[in-house]
């Protein structure tokens, strides 16, 4: 499964890896939504650090998780998205509802 889930207090961290398209998003969604329903996190961090490819399905993935987390009163943070991913995310205006943290520029 190209996602590692980690509960840190009231924060749920989803480390995604590999390619995110409509095909892979189906399993990702199931895994992450299962954890969200269980943990009801105050904060969901979606980490794109190991993602090698993403199309607009990745944007839909973030929006869909936002809806579920928001239903439980939590917030969503996007971490380590590449410039290209950020460009796609910003086309959707998602920064109005989710916090996009800048990628660590170190090496």
């Amino acid at each position: 499964m190209p996602v590692k889930l980690n509960k840190e207090g009231t924060t749920l961290v989803a480390f995604l890896s590999g390619e995110i398209d409509h095909h892979s998003a189906i399993a990702l969604r199931e895994a992450v939504d299962g954890a969200i329903k269980l943990v009801k996190p105050e904060r969901l961090e979606i980490d794109f650090g190991d993602v090698t490819f993403m199309d607009s399905s990745g944007v839909g993935f973030v929006m869909g998780r936002y809806k579920l987390v928001n239903f439980y009163g939590g917030t969503v943070v996007v971490k380590n998205a590449s410039e290209r991913m950020e460009r796609m995310l910003s086309l959707s205006g998602i920064e109005k509802i989710a916090l996009i943290e800048k990628r660590d520029k170190a090496v």
Partner: protein, 143 residues
Amino acid sequence: MKEAKTNEMRLVLESRSQNEGVARIAVSGFVSTLDPTIEEINDIKTAVSEAVTNCIVHAYEDTVGKIYITCSMHGKSVYIKIKDNGCGISDIEKAMTPLYTTKGDERSGLGFAVMESFMDSLRVRSVCGKGTTVYMKKNISGK
């Protein structure tokens, strides 16, 4: 003016979601002979992924149909045509508006916007009930 054709690839794929990755690999392999930059390859992979996903998710929805991909090279320009015989689009202008989607939950309505912003040109032809064809062009600068 379009230069003379220097290479061509034709590919027919079934509209199964695992073929999204197959299409990306095939097209990027074809384009790689022009020595594109990583950015250029990623632009093309993303645009192809969008068009092929639309065939799978919208054109054929719950059925399996065929997706016809034609890539041709004219000098340093790559032309990509992605065609389906699916449901078609009734209002193309509306469909191409960023954030417009007919599938609310998991789709962001950004596919056409992404194709437009990552490629040098995008044209869409569609006939309701007959199918849709997406034409894209990318100029390769090379390394």
